[in-house]
Amino acid sequence: MLGRSLPRVAARAFARQPVGKSTRASSTAAGADAASSPFYLTLTASLATAAAAGSAAWYYHLYGQEAFAMTPAEEGLHATHYPWVHQRFNKTFDHAALRRGFQVYREVCASCHSLTRVPWRSFVGVMHTVDEMKAMAEENEYDTEPNDQGEIEKRPGKLSDYIPAPYKNDEAARAANGGALPPDLSLIIKGRHGGCDYVFNLLTGYPDEPPAGASVAEGMNFNPYFPGTGIAMGRVLFDGVVEYEDGTPATTSQMAKDVVEFLNWAAEPEMDDRKKMGVKAIALLTGLFAISIWVKRYKWAPIKSRKIVYSPPIGPRR
């Protein structure tokens, strides 16, 4: 009893206060009526809203925005997006393009850039036959295991060997390229923002001469897509640099497209199988999902459609 009555007493005590206030308000009628008139209520609400929104906007302006330390030129031009066919969910690589791209890599890129994570064997059954790859691997020399005298000799390459790098080590690569290290291209598509688009734009985006006002350091080249715009690599792809064996015209953009697709393969050699598995999995799971919906409805049908009725006892039976 006491527990229940106590809150009620307190509530009554609080309730009394507003009543006293309201009587006082009614005695000083004019001001209070004006304050609670719709116009002033709207004005007050509007001002409060404006103040809140304004301070929030000011706070965001001051502290909320991302701070960019670099100028747009230092960020590099955003890569244009191209509709790469091999990036659609149901398309494999174009293996003829991979073969052309590998030719471009071998004849142009490989003089400076390594591809150290790709072994010769991974080309077999993807863009070359076994015999072609064996011949290609044998053109390179590799160290043997130490022989009886502990000397390391040279042997021709095998399919299990990895593609040799153009320089012995990074220092040699830097020394030969004016201090700039040509990055390894095995994972370059995964390793750069923009991926295929970025590499394609970089390869095809060299202007004939740097725009007015751009400062290009000694031994550097201007490329708007490269962060900082000064890149040690010069333009390498010119029309007809490579002669394709399948007769495709070797324009700059064709070669860039082929080599980008090839580098995408080097970074994601599993892509064809992965997409195929994905399509199969989606097809199967769609079927299973439909079945599970049907089973649920089948099981729930009697529960959902039944009617629960409470029929009260009519009266004492006896």
Binding site: N90, K91, D94, H95, A96, H128, T129, D131, E132, D272
Partner: protein, 67 residues
């Protein structure tokens, strides 16, 4: 309907050995048919893009070299 389900029950489900064999055989049959069908669809989508499509070009050339 009752006739069909009764027939299924009598022929397949009634004996456990038959039921189990049916499940295993059905799994194999489904796997085979699903893989064949989806591979065929995949190859239609990617006609001319895969290695098996361009392989003949390079095999023929090798044969000529050998001769």
């Amino acid at each position: 309907m009752a006739g069909i389900s009764n027939a299924i029950y009598q022929s397949i489900i009634r004996r456990n050995a038959v039921f189990l064999t049916t499940i295993f055989a059905g799994a194999f049959a489904f796997e085979l048919s699903f893989d064949t069908a989806s591979n065929k669809i995949w190859d239609t989508w990617n006609a001319g893009r895969q290695w098996k499509d361009i392989k003949p070009r390079y095999l023929v050339k090798e044969d000529e070299d050998d001769e």
